[in-house]
Structures are given as C-alpha cells and as structure tokens.
C-alpha cells in the first residue's frame, strides 16, 4: 500500500523517503498541511536547495521535519522561530520556513512569534492550530475553545483561546492569513503568497486532531471535524461587520493582513553597508 502511494503521489519528490511513513495519526490534518506546503513549493518552482525548514516540538513540528527533503532543523520546544532567525540572517537569500503547532509557536514560543513579527524578518511561519497538545496526550492549550474538554480540562475549559493571527498581525507582520484544512486550495495560494512576501508571514491552519481533540468533543471522525470547520468559517470581509458575540466560536478565514514594511535582514545588511561606508572600510 505504502509503496503504491509513493509511486503515484506526484509530490513524493519533495519527501525524505527514508523517513516515511509519517508518525501522524490516521485522519490528522498534518498530512493536508504537508501536501499543501509541497504543492506551494512546487507551484512556485522553489528549488528545495533554496529552502531551510525549521520546526519545534510536537506533532505539527513533524510535518516538514524530517519528512520534507530540504535542510531541516528540528529544535527545542517553542524556539523554532528564534533558531530560524539565526538561519535567515546567515542565509538571507534562502526561503526560511517554520512549520509547527499552536502549543509550540503560540504558547511556549509566543514571545518569539511576537518579536519576529515586530522585527518583520523574512520568515514564513505555517502554524498548525489543532486546539490541543496532541503529542503529550491531549492537554488544554491556549487555543482550546472556551468550554471544550481536554485531558487537563476534563470538566470544561474556562480560559479564552488566543486569536493567533490577529495578535501576530497587530505585532507587525507583513502577511497573515488563516485557513482550515477544509480550504486546501485557498491554503496553498496563501502559502505561496506568504513565501513571496518580503517580511514576516504567518499562515495559520486550523487543523483537525480527531484523536486527541475530536474524540473528547463529540467529533470522533475526521470528517466531522472538517464539517465543523466549514460550518463555522467566516470570511474575513464578513467578519468585519460582525460583533464579538456573533464571532464567538467562529473561525475567521482569509487574509488578515498583507502589507509592505521594511524587512529585518535587508535593513541589517543596509546598516552594515552604511557603517562600512561611514568608516571608509569598503573595498577600494
């Protein structure tokens, strides 16, 4: 079966075959994200040699590392963006992509996420939001919906979820978009755009975790979760005219922000040029 997939799946050329099959559970949205990312890379004809993929810890960190065939840096919990910052400064002409989960990037790594957006460093972050800590056994996350059940909120979650995309947009990112795994084509287009933007870009993907989240919240089947996404998705244009009460429990999808701002590595190199010029250190 596995062999058949490898020989017929056109994106297989982008995968590290010796690392397959993936560790993802059946029905996980991670496969959709990997597929969308591979399609975006393929669509833009980006040579994987010009790509460095960085991830943190957790299920979603596995999506592209080790499976994607590029230079991959699998880092400590929450720190992927900080590691990627060093990589990008070293290789400003390469595409540096971070793929990781909500717990990793927005909880323990929230600080790095905000400051990378503020700095507007040219990194593309694909943040997979499945509302839960999957790999550690389904504990409550800062993205878990209000009232949902998890292994560490067995009665109900009494905390409010973090609106990641809006927060990152407010912090200063150049490009922010949110889609769900039920919006695959839009997702691919957004990843493509994010990769082309010169600046910090975030694509948040609402993704299903039927095993850890769905099972405890009356959505055992992956398809039920996808139907939930479709039913509750609101395009960003429509959401602008809706009250916070109306938006409670909804997923605002689409482009949240798309703007030009000075980019960090460009500014850094410009600064170095100016300093060298000022001190007369340029090659005569």
């Amino acid at each position: 079966m596995a062999k058949k997939i490898y020989s017929t799946y056109p994106m297989v050329k982008y995968l590290r075959k010796e690392a397959l099959p993936t560790a993802l559970c059946p029905g996980c949205g991670g496969g959709t994200v990997l597929n969308a990312f591979a399609n975006a890379i393929d669509g833009l004809k980006i040579d994987p040699k010009d790509l460095v993929v960085v991830s943190g810890i957790g299920c979603s960190a596995w999506i592209a590392s080790p499976y994607f065939l590029a230079d991959t840096l699998h880092t400590t919990h929450g720190r992927a963006i900080a590691f990627a910052t060093g990589v990008k400064v070293g290789l400003p002409d390469k595409k540096v992509v971070v793929i990781s989960g909500d717990g990793d990037l927005a909880s323990i790594g929230g600080n790095h996420l905000l400051h990378a957006a503020r700095r507007n460093i040219d990194i593309t972050v694909i943040l997979v939001n499945n509302f839960i800590y999957g790999m550690t056994g389904g504990q409550v996350a800062p993205t878990t919906p209000f009232g949902a059940k998890t292994t560490t909120s067995p009665y109900r979650n009494i905390e409010h979820p973090l609106q990641i995309s809006e927060t990152v947009a407010a912090a200063g990112a150049s490009y922010v978009a949110r889609w769900t795994t039920a919006h695959v084509y839009q997702l691919i287009e957004s990843i493509k755009k994010a990769l082309q933007v010169k600046g910090f870009s975030l694509v948040e993907v609402i993704s299903q975790c039927p095993v850890q989240y769905g099972r405890r919240n009356r959505m055992k089947e992956p398809a039920e979760m996808l139907r939930w996404f479709l039913k509750n998705s609101v395009p960003v244009s429509r959401a602008r005219n809706m009250s916070p009460e109306e938006l409670e429990g909804k997923f605002v999808i689409g482009e949240i922000v798309n703007r030009e701002r000075p980019e960090f590595t460009t500014e850094l190199n410009k600064l170095i040029d100016e300093v060298q010029e000022h001190f007369g250190l340029k090659e005569e």
Binding site: D71, T72, A82, F83, V89, H112, H115, V275
Partner: protein, 396 residues
Amino acid sequence: MIIRGNEPDQIRLIKRLYKPGNYFMQGNEAVAYGALFAGCRFYAGYPITPSSEIAETMARELPKLGGYYLQMEDEIGSIAAMVGASWTGFKVMTATAGPGFSLMQENLGYAVMTETPLVLVDVQRSGPSTGQATKGAQGDFFQARWGTHGDHPIVAVSPTSGQDAFWETIRAFNIAEKLRTPVVVLFDGVLAHTREQIKIPDVSEVEITYRKLPENEEEAKLPFGDPHGDGVPPMPLFGHGYFTHVTGSTHKENGLRDVYTPEVHDRLVRRIHRKIEKNREVYEKYEEHFTDDAEILVVSWGVTARPALGAVLRAREEGIKAGLFVPKTVHPFPGERMRELAKKSRAILVAEMNLGQMIIEVERYVNDDVLLKGVNKIGGVPLTVEEILREIRGVA
C-alpha cells in the same frame, strides 16, 4: 562552503581597524575583541549585568567587519539564533550572566547534542537568583558542567585577567571549531568591569582555526558520523544542497531521528563524550607557579587566581614552600596533573569566590593524607592577597 569571517578581506579589515598596541579597557571589551579576532561575525544576545559591555562592543564593532549583531527577545532566543546561524557557517558568540545562563541551558544541551560550535560567555555574578546583580562571583562552576540535562560533556575555559580574557576567548572559539562543540567561557563580574592595560596583538600573531567541512558528498550525507576517527564529524552547512537534517532527538549518523534503538543512543552519546575525552590536547590548559617544590599547593581559577598568586609570592618571601595551580580549562578538569601535584603536596588550599565548588572536583584527585581546605568568600568582593596568605600561613 566558507566559514564566514574567513574571507581574506576580513584580515584587511581587522588590521585596518585594530592597531596593535596597549589599550586601557574593561575585561568585557577584551572578550569582545578576542571574539572579533577569532572570526566571530554573529552575536545574538540579551542585556544582563555584568555582561552588557560585551554586547555593546559587539554591536558597535561587528557592522564594521560586515558581521551581525542581534538583540533577541530573551536569552533562550539568543542561543537559539546562534545555533541557527552556526549551521549557516558563522562563528557565533553570546554573553550572559547568572539568570541568563540558567535560561540558556536547554539550548546549550541542544548544541551539545547537535554538535554545533558556539561560544557562550558567562560573566558570573552573585546568586542564587537575582542575588547581587552587579557583583562578581564564581558560583557557576557546576552550572557550566551540569546545567543542562542528560549525560553530556562540556568544555569550559576561565580567564584570570582582562588580557587573558582576550586570548582565552580566541582559544574558546578554536576549541569550539575543532571539536564541533559549544564552549563556555566562565568569566566573572570583577574582571569584566576592571579596566587595565590590555595588549592587542597583530592579527597575524593569532592562531585561528575553522571547523572541518565535508570533503565530499558522502561525508556530507553523514553529518553525525565519524569518517576521520577522531570523533569529530565534518559539518555540512545549511544552504549548500545537502538536505541535512538536524535534530536534538537521538539521531543516527545520517541525522535521522531514532529514539527507539538503545544502540543508536549509546553510540551517539558515547561518541560525543569520546570526542572530548580523546582530544584533550585541543583544550587542556593550566598554569603553574612554584609547583616544583611546593608543599602547600594553592589551587585557584578565574579572578581569584590573581590574589592567589600574590599570596603565594608573599608566602615564598616568608620562606613558606607554597605553589599555585590554575586550571585554565576548568572542564574537563585537568585531573591527571592535579593528581601528580597532590602527591607532592602536604596541604592543598582551594581559593574561589563561592562556598566551595572547584574543591569538589579537586577532592577527587587528592588522597586522604593531604590536608584539603577551601578558602572561600562570597558577598561580591574578591578574595584579597592577605586573606589567602593568612590561610597559607595557617597550614604552613
């Protein structure tokens, strides 16, 4: 592939910017200039007393050399960015102090596991916790050794003066590059802020080494192998099309994760230990004064080695056969030499600005018939010649 800072142009820039001669500067500045001479072209840090002048000097000087200064959002991000940059071919450094060093420990372990060369300067300050933030101390001896989790080797060097800090920082870079490993510089708040005369040499007098890069495709495919038998794998840098996979998880020679096979973990972690153990000549360094006929041996390190030398000289004037042993690389401890010296000594005094840390290491190499005693002081004020001399007289 090229290690950034290795371009011929860099030597020209260094010669142009830093004329050889005597300068009056802080220990912290000496560390920064040492790093610049060693080829460091990437610094990521977060301000913390008493280390901040290192960051300030790097922020001012790095752009002149075409290097990069990054002020990160915290210490964790700083060391993370360093690891990322090191894999793109930079020699990298950060400087921190007490609490910042604690925060960096997890990623220091990551650097050990992924064999990433970097230099981490810990300007030791008084603790625990915030302690006396502006005061010096020598309380991080074991944090450098055992701060991160798991079985891991570490190399830590410790300068004894501002001048020494310049050279020891360069040596730290050379060790990091040769052994593909993080190196800790255990500096301290006293020397960091002491201004003294520091001689800056001509860059051609400085020995600078660079990490081993893969010689062919085959070597590049085994970023954690051991093709040369010295335990140090060549490092395939990012961005050269090798599709290298780097992970802090237990990994095979090709970099791919395997956390289920006991032998894979055993092989990896033992090799990382072996490359440090077997390459002792790369990093082992100590200083000795009057040890030939010493009956009373003072063992000291870092800032305290200076008053200790003063005390030994004064004791000699008084006819006491005192000697001084100063480990310059404090981890791995120069145990063999310590054992030899201990055999010849009647009494050993270990002087340090803490309540007794290096003395625990010394004790392992000393027989029961030798009087072993700590000379300890905390509170942020260094030990004086008088205080150490009094202890020498006490056992004479």
